[in-house]
């Protein structure tokens, strides 16, 4: 069910191994951070915790493969295009399509539910998750894995002494940093300020002429786009061979990240994502020899870290503490 990580051969001194694993952890953390950011942006704007995130990310990753490999856009018209450009273009198209689908989902399924109990809305997103996951699964095919054709090659890597750095990991980290930077810029822009205002106080924002409905749509579009971005990196080596039924489950492990950081904290999503990624990789390497913990223990480490954090801070590291009154 969970994606099989392709572990690179680790050689060298313990310190070199540690550095290799740290980079791996940062790369995995970057994916979780991207996914968690989508969750948090949607949550902050609409107070909805979406469970359809994993399905949307798998759909996006499949769309990249569909555009880049099956349809061969734009290589079918312009031959001899560099792979990087082709992949990037497909990714951009997939992100735009997914953002559109995210907006449509919000408009059709979430908008009528404003004011309903939180859990009912969560359940609706679970229903949407089942639908999208099944349809995407039908396109992928039972037990199939669809490659997305990443431009940095299959498991290509740099070797500096005993330290192994995979190109994919570097790409993931760079994309995550750029995305966070763009988001930071965006939240300072006019629309971004409107978005923050709506998240802070919806009625006051509406009194200032901000359309709350548009902000909801925008939040879902950004959320879906981030889900796709995370999904693309979750579906390339070294995380997985390609898009499969397991890609949708990758986002479920971003849940601990958002809870550790706090459900309504952008900063928390990024920090939580990296904590979870690091914890998972380190446990996968250093605890794999402890047989008592069982096979695949690293995949439950995020949840254990989450529970430990919640015992100390019930609203996560940066989450707003809920004021309880009669």
């Amino acid at each position: 069910m969970l994606s099989v990580p392709l572990v690179a051969q680790v050689g060298g001194t313990p310190l070199e191994t540690l550095i290799t694993k740290t980079i791996d952890g940062l790369a995995l953390g970057a994916i979780y951070a991207l996914l968690a950011l989508g969750f948090v942006i949607i949550f902050k704007a609409t107070q909805v915790l979406t469970f359809a995130h994993g399905a949307v990310s798998a759909m996006g990753a499949y769309l990249v493969s569909y555009f880049a490999i099956t349809l061969n856009i734009p290589g079918r018209w312009i031959p001899d295009l560099p792979v990087t450009l082709q992949f990037t273009l497909s990714a951009v198209i997939a992100i735009v399509v997914a953002a559109g689908i995210g907006m449509a989902l919000e408009r059709v399924f979430i908008r009528p539910m404003i004011g309903e109990p939180l859990f009912s809305i969560v359940m609706i997103t679970i229903g949407l998750d089942i639908v999208i996951r099944t349809i995407v699964g039908d396109y992928i095919g039972q037990g199939n894995t669809v490659v997305t054709g990443a431009p940095w090659g299959f498991l290509s890597q740099w070797k500096i002494g005993g330290v192994i750095i995979q190109h994919a990991q570097v790409a993931t980290i760079i994309v995550a940093i750029v995305t966070v930077a763009v988001l930071m810029w965006f939240f300072k822009s006019r629309i971004g300020i409107a978005m923050r205002a709506t998240a802070f106080d919806q009625e006051a924002a509406m009194a200032q002429g901000i359309s709350a409905g548009r902000i909801f749509s925008l939040a879902w579009a950004i959320g879906a786009a981030l889900a796709v971005l995370g999904g693309i990196f979750a579906a390339v080596p070294p995380r997985a061979l390609g898009v499969s039924a397991g890609t949708a489950f990758f986002a479920l492990r971003a849940f601990p990240a958002i809870v550790i950081g706090g459900l309504d904290s952008i900063k928390g999503a990024v920090v939580g994502g990296f904590i979870v990624g690091m914890a998972e990789v380190m446990a996968g390497h250093y605890l794999s020899s402890v047989t008592a913990l069982g096979i695949g223990f690293n995949t439950v480490v995020p949840y254990l870290v989450m529970m430990a954090v919640l015992l100390v801070r019930p609203h996560g590291l940066y989450g707003t503490v809920e004021i309880r009154r009669v």
Partner: protein, 408 residues
């Protein structure tokens, strides 16, 4: 009283489990109808006496027990939980270890009256153990914590091979039969074909009767819980926890009790699920199973026992209904019947165009995938159009006929 069914002269009368004559009569009729299903007395219900339908009805009854537990936690106490499958798994493997047999596995081979109660008690104790973590967090944080519980549980079940069997393989489960101790022949066998009071019944029918009794007991207990001090404290915590605390209802105590009771229901249901289905793999107790129970509670109508009963049958039997409709359309398309054009468009035969394919290959969704899509859409559409679920629809129908022929 007869002419004024809504006039209650005392608090006790109003809080009755079946407060009106109509409810009493319809409950008795429902039970009688359920009893007659395997006997093929009533022509309308006789098609449900086929073993393939009885298996589904049995599953509905098992799911009903677990859903009642979740309803207490979600509907009555207002605590969002996605961890029901974990407690079901714990109950199931308690039963498997205590009652099961099998080489290379932990199994004690004890009779049903030992493993069935303990399969509820052990998860309940575990619920109490986990409650301190769960009580501290609220709302969506709790949903994710319980979600984590399912994943941790799945990991444990997958690795505890001497308890749960090998991953993707599973283990031998106890048989559904009553023994006094470990003697050779069981006192009552609920699992294999045989005669009961001169009526020859298939094993599924005997299991059905056993589960029916269990379900009635648990429905009664769940309904009764709402009338007790504990049930009222749950409702107070759900409606406004701070206000409830000011009135002297202990939040920690009430939430812990809610977790324990709901885990008891889940454990018993999980044990029965494992025993009746048999050969369940350790991956059974996953998020999808939890989601099914949340779907049952929300589709049925959160907080209502009648809604949970409706929801259990609806969610479990719906896939079979969808399959029947699809097969009917497929037959129509092949035979060229009245609906052949519709059938040809919807169903794909031999890989031609169609939204649904009857074979696993070819374009279009398979019947299993179609079921999934309809299931997901149903949850979403249902909650948008009718937030009170099936129970809400029933209330509207009832109120319409109450005032008939006047509109109100």
């Amino acid at each position: 009283m007869r002419g004024r069914p809504n006039l209650f002269a005392s608090y006790a009368a109003e809080q009755g489990i079946l407060p009106t004559t109509t409810k009493k009569v319809s409950a008795v009729l429902l039970v009688i109808a359920a009893i007659t299903i395997p006997l093929e007395v009533l022509p309308v219900l006789s098609q449900f006496s086929q073993p393939s339908w009885l298996v589904l009805l049995n599953r509905s009854l098992i799911f009903l027990i677990a859903a009642l537990g979740l309803n207490i936690l979600v509907g009555l106490a207002g605590q969002v939980s996605l961890g029901h499958a974990f407690f079901m798994g714990v109950g199931a493997y308690t039963a498997a270890v205590l009652g099961g047999t099998g080489a290379g596995l932990w199994s004690l081979g004890l009779p049903i009256w030992v493993w069935l109660p303990l399969s509820g008690i052990i998860p309940a104790l575990l619920g109490i153990l986990i409650a301190p973590t769960a009580v501290r967090v609220r709302g969506l944080y709790l949903a994710i914590v319980t979600l984590g519980l399912v994943f941790i549980g799945e990991h444990i079940f997958r690795n505890a091979n001497s308890i749960a069997g090998a991953p993707e393989v599973g283990r031998e489960w106890p048989r559904l039969e009553l023994r006094i101790w470990k003697e050779e022949n069981p006192l009552i066998d609920f699992a294999s074909d045989g005669n009961w009071f001169g009526v020859s019944l298939p094993g599924e029918a005997k299991t059905f009767y056993f589960l029916l009794v269990m379900a009635i007991v648990f429905v009664f207990l769940a309904k009764n819980l709402g009338r007790t001090r504990i049930g009222r404290s749950f409702a107070a915590i759900r409606d406004r926890d701070v206000a409830a605390e000011i009135m002297g209802v202990g939040e920690f105590r009430a939430k812990t009790q809610a977790f324990a009771i709901s885990s008891f229901y889940a454990g018993v249901s999980g044990a029965l699920f494992g025993v009746v289905v048999g050969r369940l793999i350790p991956e059974t107790w996953n998020l999808f199973l939890s989601v099914q129970f949340v779907a049952i509670v929300l589709i049925g109508g959160a907080g209502t026992v009648a809604g949970t009963v409706l929801g259990s049958f609806f969610v479990v039997l719906m896939p079979r209904m969808v399959e029947n409709v699809t097969r009917f359309l497929g037959d129509q398309a092949i035979d060229g019947g009245v609906l052949s054009i519709v059938g040809d468009f919807v169903v794909s035969i031999d890989g031609d165009f169609g939204l649904i394919s009857l074979s696993a290959q070819g374009p279009g969704l398979s019947i299993f995938q179609l079921n999934q899509v309809i299931y997901g859409l149903l949850i979403a559409v249902f909650l948008i159009s009718e937030p009170l679920g099936l129970f809400g629809i029933w209330i509207r129908i009832r109120n319409y006929w109450k005032g008939w022929p006047f509109t109100y």
